[in-house]
């Protein structure tokens, strides 16, 4: 039942807009509630911007998933930028190295059901989030 995953390159502001639009389209297709669509698109916007700004660009892959009980969406944000040395610190509300609000990572984690981060200094960062239908 799973459709092909869809992949976008993130190399500009415009690509971040495209990520939001793709995530919205898939969120509607799997029938997430309006509030959950809004949460997921917002989280995706934060993470795609981080991929662009801190990761130096990368890719976003959007996948429909099904665990046998529920349908959902999984999104992977991958870059081969500088990586994050201290993940716990980066996930603290208000922590920023870029003059932002420091809410993107920590806020995105609150907005999704599952949040996995795989990062290593010098290798890059890969963040995968999942939102399930209720």
């Amino acid at each position: 039942m799973n459709a092909e995953p869809q992949r976008l390159t993130v190399a500009s502001d415009q690509d971040v807009v495209r990520v939001r639009q793709l995530v919205r389209t898939v969120a509607v297709a799997v029938k997430l509630s309006l509030v959950d669509q809004t949460k997921l698109v917002t989280a995706a916007s934060e993470l795609a911007r981080n991929t662009l700004v801190y990761g130096g660009g990368g890719t976003v892959e959007v996948d429909r998933v099904d665990n046998g009980r529920r349908a959902g969406i999984r999104i992977a944000f991958v870059d081969s930028g500088p990586g994050i040395a201290d993940v716990n610190l980066a996930l603290t509300d208000g922590y920023t190295t870029g003059g932002g609000l420091g809410l993107g990572l920590s806020g995105a984690r609150r907005l999704v059901d599952e949040f996995d981060i795989d990062t290593e200094p010098g290798r890059g960062t890969s963040i995968t989030v999942t939102k399930w239908c209720r």
Partner: protein
């Protein structure tokens, strides 16, 4: 680069954001508004976000910055039309937009600005307040 139009309506500026803005578009809007506040001497700014289906930290920060800039330029900003799902998401994201005045729609936003102006100009001590009292008694 797309630009969000800034309209002058009476002595207010109205910005109705109709597109999913790129980050640069949001930054341009900040500058355009500052220029227009100075050029027109307007004392109130209404930002209508009813067409936005999300507000992330970048747009949230833009709204806060616009409110701050306009304050310094002696104008008041009201953000109107936030969708309920957007409000729920913003709070969970951790952005409570302190210092930003909000109203449910453009009309209520205009009323809020008019009231804020009246109070700022020391309205109440003079005639109008007495009239209210007189009318009530």
């Amino acid at each position: 680069m797309e630009r969000v139009p800034v309209l002058k309506i009476g002595d207010m500026l109205l910005v109705s954001i109709q597109v999913d803005m790129e980050d640069q578009t949001a930054l341009n809007l900040q500058e355009d508004l500052a220029d227009k506040i100075v050029a027109t001497g307007c004392r109130g700014v209404i930002i209508d976000i009813s067409a936005l289906d999300i507000v992330d930290s970048f747009v949230g920060r833009m709204l806060a910055t616009i409110a701050g800039i306009s304050k310094v330029l002696d104008a008041e900003t009201v953000v109107v039309g936030m969708r309920p799902a957007v409000a729920i998401t913003l709070v969970e994201l951790g952005l409570s937009l302190p210092g930003i005045r909000t109203a449910l729609n453009v009309e209520l936003g205009m009323a809020l600005l008019a009231r804020a102006r009246f109070e700022a100009e020391g309205g109440g001590d003079a005639g109008e307040d007495d009239e209210t009292v007189a009318a009530a008694s």
